[in-house]
């Protein structure tokens, strides 16, 4: 069974006055794999902490299955937030896993055991695990917990590529057997983009995009040709120009907006070339970054 998630005008102001979220309206139908994108500090973690009821919105509402989840045991038991890598502790890995199993009604202990093998997490004190293994352990809590809404706050950043891909494969294969809502936050999207059914982009506490991944992809177009023709075309087609590059008289504009077949033909007639742009580039432009962020590996 899946659960719908909705944020209505949700805002979060921290005690120091920081506006972490400004009136977020976001609807995530149950069973969606959502990519929550944004630069560092855009509000991704804040948004997830509201959904996990770690914090309360200073304004607006969070609704899970149509209800406020705050201190609602039935709902909070069905939401999980996996932070970025478990910190060290005197706990042994297996004890920590056993303890988590006692708390989650939906926990699958056999799956947790399989994941310990898959990620090759040794049964030592958590403090003794490498950063990558601690991250993998955090991912294990999310996967084996089987919470109908499971959020991952970039735990994969600390993992090496094979482990990350193993994690993506598990998210997907487990999702197909046990459909649930999965929210993956990241600012490093190319390797996971194909997993996302929907994408939400945050910038400075505001939701700038919320759409199906493929619709978003279809909406990004690079228009290349003589500078004057490019300007005329983008203006007439009502496209939002996200960035431009010029070389001599040739201009390339990264644009955002729906293109009709008529507009496409008009572009061809005007000698303009239309090309797709990678989702990562689109994200970089929409999220207000001037430089593509490098993956921190």
């Amino acid at each position: 069974m899946t659960l719908d998630l909705e944020l209505r005008g949700a805002s979060l102001r921290y005690d120091d006055g920081t506006e972490a979220l400004r009136g977020i309206d976001l609807s995530v139908p149950g069973g969606t794999i959502l990519g929550l994108l944004g630069r560092n500090g855009a509000g991704k973690s804040s948004l997830m902490s509201l959904v996990a009821s770690l914090r309360r919105p200073t304004d607006g509402q969070v609704l899970i299955g149509g209800r406020d989840p705050w201190e609602d045991a039935e709902l909070t038991a069905r939401v999980a937030l996996v932070g970025e890598a478990a910190e060290g502790g005197a706990w042994k890995v297996r004890d920590a896993v056993t303890s988590a199993g006692r708390l989650r009604p939906t926990w699958d202990a056999a799956y947790a055991d399989r994941l310990l093998d898959l990620f090759e997490i040794p049964n030592v004190k958590i403090a003794k695990l490498s950063r990558g293994k601690r991250a993998a352990l955090a991912c294990l809590f999310g996967l084996a917990g089987r919470a109908p809404i499971t959020m991952y706050d970039e735990p994969y950043l600390g993992m090496d590529a094979p482990a990350r891909y193993a994690f993506y494969d598990e998210v997907l294969s487990d999702y197909m057997v046990h459909p649930r809502t999965v929210i993956l936050s990241t600012h490093h999207i190319d390797e996971v983009a194909s997993l996302f059914g929907r994408v939400a982009i945050l910038d400075d506490g505001r939701l700038v995009t919320d759409d199906e991944t493929d619709s978003l992809r279809a909406r990004g177009t690079e228009v290349t040709g003589p500078a004057a023709a490019v300007d005329e075309f983008t203006g007439a087609a009502g496209l939002r120009v996200l960035s431009t590059r010029s070389l001599g008289g040739t201009k390339a504009a990264v644009t955002y907006g729906d293109l009709t077949d008529v507009a496409r033909r008009r572009a061809a007639d005007a000698g303009l070339e239309l090309g797709p742009i990678p989702l990562q580039d689109l994200f970089v432009h929409l999220s207000g970054a001037t430089q593509p962020e490098e993956a921190s590996l």
Binding site: L172, L195, R217, P276
Partner: protein
């Protein structure tokens, strides 16, 4: 990601790839295609996206569903695809060639002559 780039909509890329397999004969008429879930797991793609790509192929008459069993290549799928590509060939290959010839001052008769020559050389 193996076969799919981050550019044009993935569901369209999926449809195009399966169409290419049908055209090349890798997928024969009435052959079963991978299930949505197998395809999603294999290429690490959201199953809803895969389903959308498959649905497009069903809408185009290239695949048909057998309830509870899976999806199969339509018997006339290769013919449909060839017909579709024939249409496209004129629009996407021949028309631009004519435009280009006109632009650089090649007489269309010369082009036709050339085509005849090649045909006699054994290109069919």
């Amino acid at each position: 990601m193996a076969a799919f780039d981050g550019r044009s909509p993935i569901y369209r890329q999926i449809a195009e790839q399966i169409a290419a397999d049908i055209l090349s004969g890798a997928l024969e008429p009435d052959a079963q295609v991978m299930s949505t879930n197998q395809f999603a797991a294999h290429f690490r793609i959201n199953p809803a996206t895969v389903a959308k790509g498959f649905q497009q192929l069903v809408d185009d008459g290239l695949l048909y569903k057998k309830r509870g069993i899976g999806m199969f290549v339509s018997p006339d799928a290769p013919e449909r695809l060839r017909a579709r590509h024939r249409e496209r060939f004129m629009a996407e290959v021949v028309d631009p060639m004519i435009a280009e010839a006109h632009l650089i001052g090649i007489d269309l008769d010369d082009v036709v002559t050339r085509i005849d020559q090649r045909r006699q050389d054994g290109h069919r």
